[in-house]
Amino acid sequence: MKKNRTLRVSALLLALTLITTCFVGGTFAKYTTSASDDVTARVAKWGFKTTTITLDNLFSKTYVKTDSRYTEGANTVESTVNVVAPGTEGEVTFDFAYDTTNNGATAPEVAYNFAISTDGSSTDIGALDAELKWSLDDKDYDLNWAGLLAEIKALSGDNSGSKNYAPGNLPDNFNQDSNEHTIRWQWVFEDTNGTVKDNNAADTALGNADTLQNVTLEISITATQVD
């Protein structure tokens, strides 16, 4: 009898426990106070440095002699304005830097459009185009004027001169490994490749023209966040 009573009481207690769980629910929660950081957001990193592209040194008013047999002076070309002439050459380097100092930012954290424009450059340099040879970033003068302008625009990452980049990426041709670009030009003094040195007549005609030919190069690089 005693054993049965114990079992009955145990069973009843078990049942009562199970009944109360139906109505307890969240009372098992235990509240504590915790300290936490403020909810803060910082400004997303941009980082392209304000850059002024200067091409002033591409052409010059004077050019130093290259033939030691000439002893009349140090320069073989002297003018009051920037000029080009047979036997002259020049180069200029430009860049568009991304600032990675201080906090190690490696690329913008926002999507952006990267555009390179040559608007303002001469659209037609006429007969001069046949004499001036150009190169971009290498030493082979294998570009004409139109080819040079196209290559410069293509530095954006797209032949159109404009490309969108996702956050976390630098422009294809202006990244940490390759940020500077060099433009070179050359007006060959004597064309020794041909069987006839016939560029002399063309050179002379250019130098004697009533209206002298001009060449103007302008480069504009812009990075703009896209929405």
Partner: protein, 289 residues
């Protein structure tokens, strides 16, 4: 044990079965108030007698202010393209976000609430200045608080004497309101912010360019400044409930679960007992055969 089951099998099995069914039926109530999915708040603050508590997972500071996730480390545009990505929560031109906080009065009587939304600017860089003076991040982020399902003057009024968390100055308050909640009712607070991508005014032709310059300055500072000096901002919401003239400030939520795990464990025990009883019953029936 065998004798126990044999003797009580006639009423024990049905009793445990009924208990198990009751547990299953009352399970949703053990979780607390449930909302329609389309109406679910991002954060829930529940008032019970003498107690305010945020829902599990909400982070609060020492003053009891909610530190909810208003900012993100990645943002996408309408086309689904990622336009901002970072290792930290950031803001940038063209980014925005919003969260809904619900204050739920779970007592039978009415209570009075006071809610204040504030914005801090922790980093003032020397270069964060344009021709009009120091640049304030609060001016760049159009942060707002709207009270849903309530009209100003009827459901709430402007609070001219808000309770402010420690460290928050009156000039850092974006909006402070006070209102009354009947028993069983709730009030929603929609917190939103927006950094306009293009900010222009037809009456001010130079505004767009000035804003572009400020935005670019802020972005450049973020990339070039030392880690502790990058421009940043903090937004917080502080709610106080008044009941019988006593004030209760929000507590942080439980660091353990709210009893759901325990409840499920007890349901499992009940279910296990049910299975054992059924098995014993079958065994007894076979022996009887």
């Amino acid at each position: 044990m065998k004798m126990f089951f044999t003797h009580y099998k006639n009423w024990l099995l049905p009793a445990v079965l009924i208990l198990f069914i009751l547990q299953a039926v009352t399970f949703p109530f053990a979780l607390g108030q449930s909302w329609a999915e389309s109406d679910s708040p991002d954060y829930l603050l529940t008032y019970t007698k003498g107690r305010l508590a945020w829902s599990s997972g909400t982070v609060v500071d020492e003053a009891g202010a909610a530190q909810f996730s208003l900012f993100d480390s990645e943002y996408k545009n309408a086309n689904g393209d990622t336009t901002v990505t970072s290792n930290n929560d950031v803001v940038a031109p063209g980014t925005d976000n919003d969260k809904m906080v619900r204050l739920y009065n779970r007592v039978s009587g009415s209570v009075t609430y006071k809610a204040v939304l504030y914005q801090l600017q922790a980093s003032i860089h020397d270069d964060m200045e344009d021709e009009n003076g120091k640049i304030d991040m609060a001016d760049k982020l159009n942060t707002e608080m709207r009270l849903l399902h309530a009209d100003e003057g009827k459901g709430y009024v402007k609070d001219d004497n808000p309770f402010l968390p420690k460290g928050v100055k009156p000039e850092q308050v974006i909006k402070a309101v006070t209102g009354r909640l009947q028993g069983g009712q709730y009030q929603d607070f929609d917190i939103s912010w927006l950094w306009k991508f293009e900010d222009e005014d037809p009456d001010d032709p130079g505004m767009k360019e000035r804003n572009d310059q400020i935005d670019t300055l802020l972005g450049s500072l973020a990339a070039q400044a030392a880690e502790g000096e990058i421009p940043n901002t903090t937004v917080g919401l502080y709610i106080v409930v008044e009941d019988n003239n006593s004030y209760t400030t929000p507590e942080s939520p439980a660091t353990r679960d709210n009893g759901v795990g325990t409840y499920l464990a007890l349901m499992a025990v009940c279910g296990g007992v049910l299975l054992i009883l059924q098995w014993e019953k079958r065994k007894a029936s076979k022996c009887g055969e």
